[in-house]
């Protein structure tokens, strides 16, 4: 009979046995509707063929492939949080491991689904197993994603066992029979004695160490599917690390969104607290910087190389037909960086300066929007004549930059007071930005190929519906999972409490108090 802390019981266990409320059913219904719609669109695609999508020659890979890489990227959230932070001994990870591991598993499922959706003849998937060539990155991809998937499920399940046992033992009388049976089954007869705990710890530690290289290999190999071709813009050796960095980056973003959602809906402010947001935010900002470094290195190489086939791909991204998407991505990433970094650096007294107030931020943002509108959209001839002058255009872009910075400064104190909101804003920006980044990698290259004339790619309703349905599927799996299982790992958090209590009792004999000791309380302020 496993005991549980009464605080944990009210917050984490009771909601699982309560009958699902109206909100739950409404959400489940809405998501199922979107999935059903996606299902019908897929049926149409299955019957009428891939002509229903926008894909053609030479754009063999489109939105589905972008989604695939995007979802597999998001799946790196779990590994980072659970495994790397566990290995480095970061205690603050404890409340969020369950959410992270859940994201990984579901993102992997939905990601793999994208491949199947992308195939006109899904039955041919068996060919990879029957006739796969060992030297093909696609085969390696199948192997590594499968390995990662199995590893993630194990890594999700192992820490779940004690929690499920707790649920089994603490189920109220009114709990439905099927739920009790489910927990009893999944608990695998966990008794919680010392021997079992020791073995579980060992197993989880080993898994943690082994899943890190598997996760790194997954996104590396996916990137090598692109990099081992000679397509301009793809054949770049940086893709391996670049994709891994991007994956971890987008994974943290997804984690922010998911943990905030869980925190809000289930009222878990005691568990998923400021410390998680602070530390995860630091990681996020670092990954943002590293990602920006890799992106810059990538594009600068092509720009400096000026090779005949490579340069048009870059040009299409910088000022061609893919420019809006590219610059939107850059803006989103910069906004995310700003949203998390600047509030930390801002002194508390900044609010007294007029520029740092929301209304000025709004005014600035409005002005920026107006200038942007004038610069990029076609104007009536009288305005157009003025705007074609190089100097006025440059002035326009400079003004735009100024207004955007002003808006950013104005909104910073507001963000500083709301770290959770700032994190979510940054995370949403990054998640959208990373989807755009995948788009910018895949489509410009395919539409500007080496030997064939250039083409255009226009995603159709089918592809958009199936993307929406995939996201809805992800959401639904998430919803159902956290209705059945605790959103915070009960035993890990309890373990954390014990450790913190023990730590506070450790006394390291200090040398004689000296003047400088008083100074050392100050920590690096970021």
């Amino acid at each position: 009979m496993l005991k549980v802390d009464p605080r944990d019981k009210t917050k984490l266990i009771d909601p699982l046995f309560a009958a699902p409320g109206a909100r739950f059913w409404l959400a489940a219904l809405a998501l199922s509707a979107v999935i059903a719609w996606g299902g019908t669109m897929y049926a149409r695609q299955f019957i009428f063929g891939l002509g229903e999508t926008g894909m053609n020659r030479p754009t063999y890979w489109g939105v589905y492939m972008v989604n695939f890489i995007f979802f597999i990227g998001i799946s790196h959230a779990g590994t980072l949080i659970s495994a790397i932070l566990r290995v480095t001994g970061a205690e603050w990870r404890r409340p969020i491991t369950r959410v992270a591991e859940a994201i990984t598993t579901f993102a992997l499922i939905v990601g793999t689904l994208q491949i199947i959706i992308d195939m006109g003849r899904p039955d041919r998937l068996l060919f990879v197993i029957l006739h796969g060539r060992l030297q093909s990155p696609i085969l390696w991809d199948v192997i590594s994603v499968t390995a990662y998937f199995l590893g993630s499920i194990t890594y999700l399940y192992l820490p779940l066992i004690p929690d499920v046992a707790i649920l089994r033992d603490n189920a109220p009388e009114t709990a439905p029979g099927w739920q009790r049976k489910l927990y009893t089954l999944l608990a695998l007869g966990w008794r919680g004695n010392r021997e079992q705990w020791a073995r579980l710890e060992k197993a989880i530690s080993i898994m943690a160490v082994f899943i890190i290289p598997v996760a790194v290999s997954v996104h590396t190999i996916i990137s090598w599917i692109l990099a081992t071709t000679v397509q301009p813009g793809w054949h770049s050796s940086i893709f391996g690390p670049y994709f891994v960095v991007g994956a971890i980056f987008s994974g943290i973003g997804a984690l922010f969104i998911a943990m905030t959602a869980v925190r809000k809906v289930l009222g878990l402010e005691q568990y998923i607290a400021g410390r998680q947001y602070r530390n995860l935010g630091l990681l996020f900002v670092t990954m943002n910087a590293i990602w920006a470094y890799f992106t810059y290195a990538e594009h600068l190489s092509i720009a400096a190389g000026q090779q005949v086939e490579e340069f048009p791909v870059l040009a299409a991204k910088l000022w061609g037909e893919f420019a809006p998407g590219f610059w939107l991505m850059v803006a989103l990433m910069a906004a995310a960086f700003w949203a998390l970094a600047v509030p930390r650096l801002l002194p508390a007294a900044a609010e007294r300066v007029p520029v740092f107030r929301p209304r000025y931020a709004l005014a600035s943002a409005g002005a920026a929007a107006v200038v942007l509108f004038l610069l990029v959209t076609p104007q009536p001839t009288s305005v157009h004549a003025a705007l074609t002058d190089a100097q006025i255009r440059t002035l326009g872009w400079a003004l735009l930059a100024l207004f955007v910075v002003g808006a950013g400064l104005g909104v910073s104190p507001w963000l500083k007071a709301r770290p959770v909101t700032a994190s979510v804003i940054a995370a949403v920006c990054v998640v959208i930005g990373m989807w755009l980044e995948r788009w910018n990698i895949i489509v410009p290259t395919l539409t500007h190929p080496r030997l064939i004339p250039y083409s255009l790619y226009q995603p159709t309703l089918t592809e958009i519906s199936l993307t929406a349905a995939s996201l809805a599927l992800f959401g639904l799996m998430f919803l159902v999972f956290f209705k059945l299982f605790p959103a915070v790992s009960i035993w890990e958090v309890a373990e954390g409490r014990v450790i913190e209590e023990a730590q506070s009792k450790i006394v390291i004999p200090a040398p004689e108090p000296s003047e400088t000791r008083r100074l050392r309380q100050r920590r690096l302020k970021l």
Partner: protein, 454 residues
């Protein structure tokens, strides 16, 4: 405003740390003499190069860059050790790094000038170095390189000096039996440091800020150095990965160099209490991560090239894997990955001897790696499709060897002299963080982002 003595935080290892400064042994003088001898030989070799021109080296067309540029990249890479330990680990809140910072930064300080010197040595007409300043084009990676490395050198000196400042004052106050010129030197460089708490507070703040700046600078410097190669379209050089590749390689070889320096200092100056085995274990974990990370990058690089099978690239590829440079390439793989990984993972825990062996192998291998990145590409350039007799070979001569030896000797000499004049472990930084050699009790006390439990 010259106080007779300033305040110094208590450090129970102060005597152990200051003891090397109190005498200069016969062994020291012998060492310095040998090193000066090697430098003399190098100077003689350079004089021959100055008089007879670059023909005395193995450089030719199309191999314009050889051992000298390898030295340049290698020394700049070594220099990243100090910044990594002092700045990056400082930002990460790794308290264990404190005893190491000065030893590591000294490596930075004394390898950077030799990196810069390598460039000047590489030039047949060194006076033309001024042309970069007078006529440098803004869009040239060489100019960015020049600017970045100069700024890095300058900032490293300042960062080093600032963290040395309280200890110079300590030397001035404690080393009363030192020769007069030495005492005057301490007096001058102490800049009237009083040890007031406010001064310490401000010093810490400035060091925190500089740590962020130096981190960005490290990334910039080594990336810009790599872009001198990466922004050309030479096969084997024109890869986007070259930036992160060189950066990780630099931090890797630098950390290994820190291990070597630390082991030598520990042994020669009897600092077993201060430079504990735990430090080596922490460095060991970092080195394992770096080795694996760098292995990952090398695989990514070569796999992409191999699968692309572009003819120009493959020429260089086969040069490295099966051609003229295969012995060096595979020796590099052995000494940078295979042997060090085996040693670090299986033999290195708490065994300093093995750690040093592996670190020496790593540094030798990294020098070879630089060589293997630079030279094979030049021997198979893009437009020389049918190589004429005698072109596409590179054979370093004794001049280059002697000068390389002289550069290493110079670095070691400066380092050795430094350790006899200034404390090599920061006394003021380790004042309350002195840990006894006790293995950390379970549960683990490492908390990400916080030095103390909240």
């Amino acid at each position: 405003m010259r106080p007779a003595a300033s305040y110094h935080p208590q450090n129970k290892h102060e005597d152990a740390i200051l003891s090397p400064l109190r005498r200069i042994t016969f062994a020291d003088r012998w060492l310095w003499a040998v090193l000066l001898g090697v430098m003399g030989l190098g100077a003689y070799a350079y004089s021959r190069q100055w008089i007879f021109g670059l023909g005395v080296t193995g450089l030719n067309r199309p191999v314009y860059w050889g051992v000298y540029i390898t030295n340049f990249v290698f020394f700049i890479g070594l220099a990243h050790s100090g910044t990594f330990i002092s700045a990056i680990l400082r930002l990460a809140g790794a308290e264990w790094r404190k005893p190491l910072t000065r030893a590591a930064e000294a490596i930075t300080l004394f390898s950077l000038p030799f990196g810069v010197a390598s460039i000047l040595i590489d030039m047949g007409r060194p006076d033309r170095a001024l042309n970069v300043i007078l006529f440098g084009r803004f869009q040239s990676p060489l100019l960015w390189d020049f600017t970045a490395v100069s700024l890095y050198l300058f900032s490293s000196v300042v960062f080093f000096y600032l963290s040395l400042l309280p200890d110079i004052a300590l030397c001035r106050d404690r080393l009363t039996e030192a020769p007069l010129w030495q005492q005057r030197m301490y007096d001058l460089f102490a800049l009237g440091w009083r040890g007031h708490p406010e001064q310490f507070r401000r010093l810490e703040r400035v060091l925190d800020g500089m740590a962020i700046f130096m981190t960005m600078l490290v990334v910039t410097v080594h990336t810009v150095v790599s872009w001198v190669f990466g922004m050309t379209i030479q096969p084997g050089w024109h890869t986007a990965l070259i930036g992160p590749f060189f950066l990780l390689g630099a931090i890797f070889s630098g950390t290994a160099a820190v291990v070597i320096a630390l082991a030598i200092l520990r042994r020669v100056y009897h600092m077993e209490e201060v430079l504990t085995v735990n430090l080596f274990n922490s460095l060991r974990k970092l080195l394992i991560v770096f080795t694996l990370g760098w292995l990952y990058m090398i695989v990514a690089e070569h796999l992409t090239i191999f699968y692309g099978s572009l003819p120009d690239e493959m020429e260089v590829f086969w040069q490295k894997f099966t051609g003229e440079y295969a012995p060096i390439f595979w020796l590099m793989v052995l000494t940078v990955f295979v042997l060090p990984l085996i040693i670090f993972v299986f033999l290195g825990k708490s065994r300093i001897g093995w750690m040093v062996t592996a670190s020496v192998l790593v540094n030798v291998g990294m020098w070879l790696e630089r060589y293997v990145v630079i030279v094979p590409t030049e021997t198979r350039p893009r437009l020389v499709s049918t190589l004429m007799e005698g072109i596409g070979n590179y054979q370093p001569t004794w001049v280059e060897g002697a000068i390389t030896a002289a550069l290493f000797a110079g670095m070691v000499l400066l380092y050795a002299v430094f350790t006899r004049l200034f404390p090599v472990v920061p006394v003021w930084e380790t004042a309350e963080a002195v840990e006894a050699e006790v293995p950390p009790a379970r549960p683990r006390r490492r908390v990400f982002g916080a030095g103390r439990p909240r």
